[in-house]
Every structure is written in C-alpha cells, then in structure tokens.
C-alpha cells in the first residue's frame, strides 16, 4: 500500500521559467489592479505584456535541451513543450496588445478591466503546462485550469446577455465533456493501474485488454479532447461561444486552447496508442472524424451571415484538416500538424482581429455591413485579404504550405479518399472566404455607412500577424525545421 514518492527537487523549478513568469504576471496583475482600485487598467496591462514578452524571449533564447521529466513524473520539458511555449507566448503578446484598443474589452461598461489581462496570463501559463503534461493527474489539472479560466473570459462582458449566455453554454458543455473524459480516464487507470502515459502504454502492451473496453475508453477520452479542439460531434459550443464572447477573447480561444488541446492530444495518443494503433482501428476512426469535421464546418459556414460565426465554423473545418495528421500517428503526420498549428495560429488570430477592429467602429459583425470596407479601411482590408487567402490555402500565403504538408502525409499513408475530401473541402471554403473579400471589394459603399477608424495599435498587431503569414508562405523551411525537431524529441 505504500508508494515510492519522489519529493520534487527545488532545482526542478529551473525548468519552469516561462510558466513561472506567466503565473507570476497573473498574480502581480491581479494585485496591481487592486492597488490602483481598478481605475488604471494600464498597470495590469503593462505587467502582463512585459510578462508575456519575457516568456517569449526566454522560450526563444533558451529552448529546453533533452527531455527533463520534472516534478516526479508529472511533466516533461522537451523540445515539443519548447515549441508550444513559443506559440502560446506569441499568441498572448498579440492578444494583450490588441485588446488594449478594443472597445469590447476597454469600453466604459466594465470596471476592473485588469482582470481580463490577468486571466490571459493565467490561461497562457495553463496552456504551456498542457503541452508538458505526461501524467493523467497533470493532464486533467492543466485542462481544467485552462477551461475554468476560459469560462470566465467568455462571460467577461457580464452585463451583456450574449456574453453571459455564451459563457453558460461553455460551462455546461465543458463540464459534461470533462466528466465523460474523467470517467474514461478512471477506467483506463483501472485497466492498467498506471497514471503516467508511458506506464499506461507499457501496461497495455504487456497485457492487452479486450478491444471493446479499449474502444469505450478511447471514445470517452476522445470526448474531452474533442470538446477542447471543437471536433464534430463535440463542437456545439463553439459557434455560440465564439459569437457571444468579446471578439479578442474569441480570437484567443480559437487558437490558444485549441493548439493546447492538440498538444496534449499528440502527447497522449502518440505515447499511449502508438504501439497498438492497428488493434483498435484507429486510422479509420480518425479518418472518418476528420472528414466529417471538415465537411460539416465548411458546409455550415457557407450560409452564415455573421462573420464571427462564419469564422467559428471555419475554425471547426480547420480542426478537420489538422486531424488528418493523426491518421497513423507517424512522426511525419505529427510534424505536419505542428507546422499547421503555427500557421493557423497566425492567420486565424489575424482574421478574428480584423473583425474586432472593424467592430470597434461600426459595432456590427454582419457580412452586409462589410460592404466596401476595402475602400473605407484600405490597409486593414489588405491584411484581411492576406489572412483569407491563407485560410483558403492558396499560395503564396502560409496556409498553402501548411495544407501541402498535411495532404502529402495523407497521400503517403495511402488514404486517397481522405485527401480528395480535403481538397473538395478547400474548394467549398474558397467560396465563403471569398464572400467576405467580395463584400469588401466589389460592393458599393452604402451612403449612410459609418466611418471606419482603426486604432494604431490594431494596425501594429495585424501587421505583426500579416507579415508572418506571408513569410511562412515563402520561407517556411526554418520554421518547419523547428516543428520537425519538436517531434524528434519524443
């Protein structure tokens, strides 16, 4: 009955610098907000911005070397975690910068705006831990940390019915799916007697359990991950939450927690199921999920009139593309996922931020109100056009390269029908993305159209995203190498 407990060594915390910075920034920002009595949001803003910049710098300057399992067996700091640290701290920096000029966040209806920045810092730290977890306890704790924070952030505009309603739907869906996932995890623990991913895999290889119970456990665990990344059939919350939440928050949700969910999913499934991938019909299951997810997302997106909701459905479709890399759990497929996540983070964040910047002036997200934006806000519209081209997956933007790698992997593994479904889906997506472009450039400016004024900070942040979207499409090999190396550490 006694267990061998490893006491965590203080020196272990040397591996946790970016996480420690983000959690520290969270606490300092909360305290700072209290000290200035919620009247000067610039204090928490600067604290979290500096924290995120420091974390970004640190993640670049000293990437993890080798693979250090720290805090006993709970987390694993390797190059995979290092890759996601860079992605998450970059996303945090951009979101924090952008939110400062956003009406929805900084408008006069809400006091204690510092809480918003503090929550972003907390969530970024949580996402970093998600990419490092290698134990069921840590998996659950980090997922819940991110989830609980995001419920609060979705309901940030607490006087708005839409925002609170989005948040309530998020809580209920989230809690149910994490309950289902937990039940699956408890059965997995019962079948193997292990908590670490590696231990579970070894136990499953040593004494295989019967296929049916494995399938039940797999589906239950998939419910939790599927909810996190908004995969069909666990996607119902996604359009409502993205539409109801403040737009900078939706932007953050659509890339941050989603990428973190993928990171955790990659580590969990690659470690646990890779040796037994053939016994459980895994490739067929993933192929069907992927095809259904992308087709559903794209087809429903076509008839949307609200741009935010359209982008929500498009993000579901992108999850479908990303799932293609999971087919055989080969390193090549996972590398393609990682690279696409990087590209997706940049382009999708950009598209949402354009919506938010426009919403600042015209207070609407309806497609019909976007008429003639190309002439009312020329520079911002050019950047939006770059994001849209990249989201479709056309050269020379980054989305093309990302999709190319994913499709190549699918073809190499011999799943031709899936590749065809993927290409057909890209054609459907061309239609609705270009509807936005058509409204911006080929529709007359209405007589009574309100003037569009875009804050300088919004230009800066959108350029911070538009330039990488082009660079990644032209000089991708360096970045692909980083993604490749991240998987090589496994």
């Amino acid at each position: 009955m006694f267990v061998n407990i490893t006491i965590p060594n203080w020196s272990d915390f040397a591996h946790f610098v970016p996480e420690a910075i983000m959690f520290g920034a969270f606490l300092l920002a909360l305290m700072g907000d209290v000290i200035v009595r919620g009247r000067k949001p610039v204090v928490p803003f600067l604290i979290t911005l500096l924290g995120a910049l420091a974390a970004l710098y640190y993640s670049f300057a000293s990437p993890p070397v080798g693979d250090a399992g720290v805090l006993g067996s709970l987390v694993m700091i390797d190059s995979f975690a290092g890759f996601f640290r860079i992605v998450f701290s970059f996303v945090a920096v951009v979101t924090i910068l952008f939110s400062w000029s956003s009406e929805e966040i900084m408008g006069s209806t809400r006091e204690h705006k510092g809480e918003y920045y503090a929550l972003i810092a907390l969530m970024t730290g949580g996402m970093m831990v998600m990419a490092e977890a290698r134990d069921l306890v840590m998996l659950f704790m980090s997922m819940e940390l991110v989830a609980l924070t995001s419920y609060v952030m979705a309901g940030y505009m607490r006087n708005s019915l839409r925002s609170t309603e989005a948040s309530l739907k998020y809580v209920i869906f989230g809690a149910v799916s994490s309950g289902i996932m937990l039940f699956g995890m408890s059965l997995l623990f019962g079948m193997t007697g292990q908590m670490t991913f590696v231990g579970i895999r070894d136990a499953l290889v040593a004494n295989p359990v019967n296929d049916l119970s494995m399938l039940v456990v797999l589906i239950m665990i998939m419910a939790g991950f599927g909810y996190k990344i908004a995969m069909v059939p666990f996607h119902f919350w996604c359009p409502d939450v993205y539409e109801g939440a403040p737009t900078p928050v939706s932007a953050f949700f659509s890339v941050g927690p989603k990428a973190a969910g993928f990171a955790l999913m990659i580590r969990f499934f690659f470690t646990v199921f890779q040796p037994i991938v053939d016994t459980i019909d895994w490739p067929l299951m993933i192929a069907i999920l992927s095809a259904v997810t992308m087709t559903y997302g794209n087809i429903v997106a076509v008839k949307q009139t609200n741009v935010k909701r359209l982008l929500a459905y498009s993000s579901i479709a992108h999850v479908g593309y990303l799932l293609m890399g999971f087919l055989l759990l080969t390193p090549g497929g996972l590398q393609a996922i990682l690279f696409y996540l990087l590209v997706y983070a940049v382009m999708n964040l950009g598209a949402f931020m354009f919506v938010s910047a426009i919403n600042n002036s015209i207070k609407s997200e309806e497609l019909s109100d976007y008429a003639g934006l190309g002439f009312r806000a020329p520079w911002a519209s050019v950047m939006m056009f770059i994001f849209l081209v990249s989201l479709v997956g056309l050269p020379p933007a980054a989305g093309f390269i990302g999709k190319l790698y994913l499709f190549t992997e699918v073809l190499r593994e011999g799943w031709y029908w899936l590749a065809i479904v993927g290409v057909l889906n890209s054609v459907i997506s061309l239609f609705y993305y270009m509807q936005i472009a058509r409204a911006m450039y080929f529709e007359k400016v209405p007589e009574d159209a309100p003037a569009v004024k875009i804050a300088p900070l919004h230009y800066v942040t959108m350029a911070l995203l538009a330039v990488p979207t082009l660079i990644l499409g032209l000089y991708w090999s360096e970045f692909k190498a980083i993604a490749d190396q991240a998987i090589a550490g496994f």
Binding site: M1, F2, V3, L136, V137, F140, M141, E144, L148, Y151, V152, G155, R158, N159, S160, L161, R162, T164, E165, A166, S167, L168, K169, V171, I172, A175, V176, G179, I180, L182, F183, M185, S186, L187, F189, G190, G193, M195, P239, D240, E243, G244, K303, Q304, T305, N306, R309
Partner: protein
C-alpha cells in the same frame, strides 16, 4: 454478501448515468449543473475503488484533486448563473437562445 470492486463500479456507472440523464433531460440550468457534479462524483468512486483494489495510492490523489476542481467548477458555474439571472430573470435553457444563426 461481500461487497467487492464490481459493486462499486456498478454504483459509479449508475451515478454517472443519473448525472448524464439530469444534464440531458432537465431544462433548468441549475439542475444541469447538479447533474454534472454527480457525474464527477461517480468518477471519484471509480478511482477510489480501483485504487483500493490495486493497492495503488495515486488514485486517491486523483480523487482529492477532483474534489478541488469540481468545487471550482461549481463556483464558476453558479456565478455565471447568477449573472445570467440578473439580466434575464430566468435560468431555463430553452429561453437562452439569443445566439442563433
């Protein structure tokens, strides 16, 4: 009759289904949140039972973590419910339909 592992698992499965039915069938969001809590409790029973059967403490650790998380989840859920009640004067899930295409 000796109460063994299977009895605990059956109890847990029954609780889990009760909770899930509560979430799916009831339209009052307060009851739905209660259903979720029951689901989380059933997980605790499974972990504790297996932990005892396998002689491995790590399941118990998980249970304690799960308590804390479930409490936090309930706190946030109720806070959001209060916020929505202030605006709408109702917590019925069918009336919350301002977000539709």
């Amino acid at each position: 009759m000796v109460i063994g592992l299977n009895h605990y698992l059956i109890l847990a499965a029954a609780l889990f289904l009760t909770g899930a039915a509560g979430v799916l069938a009831r339209r009052n969001t307060l009851i739905m949140l209660m259903g979720v809590e029951i689901m989380l409790c059933s997980v605790n029973i499974v972990f504790a039972a297996y932990s005892r059967a396998l002689g491995d403490m790590s399941g118990h650790v998980f249970v304690i973590m799960n308590f804390a998380i479930a409490a936090a989840e309930a706190a946030i859920g109720l806070a959001i419910l209060v916020a929505i009640y202030r605006i709408k004067r109702s917590v019925n899930a069918d009336e919350l339909n301002s977000l539709k295409e």
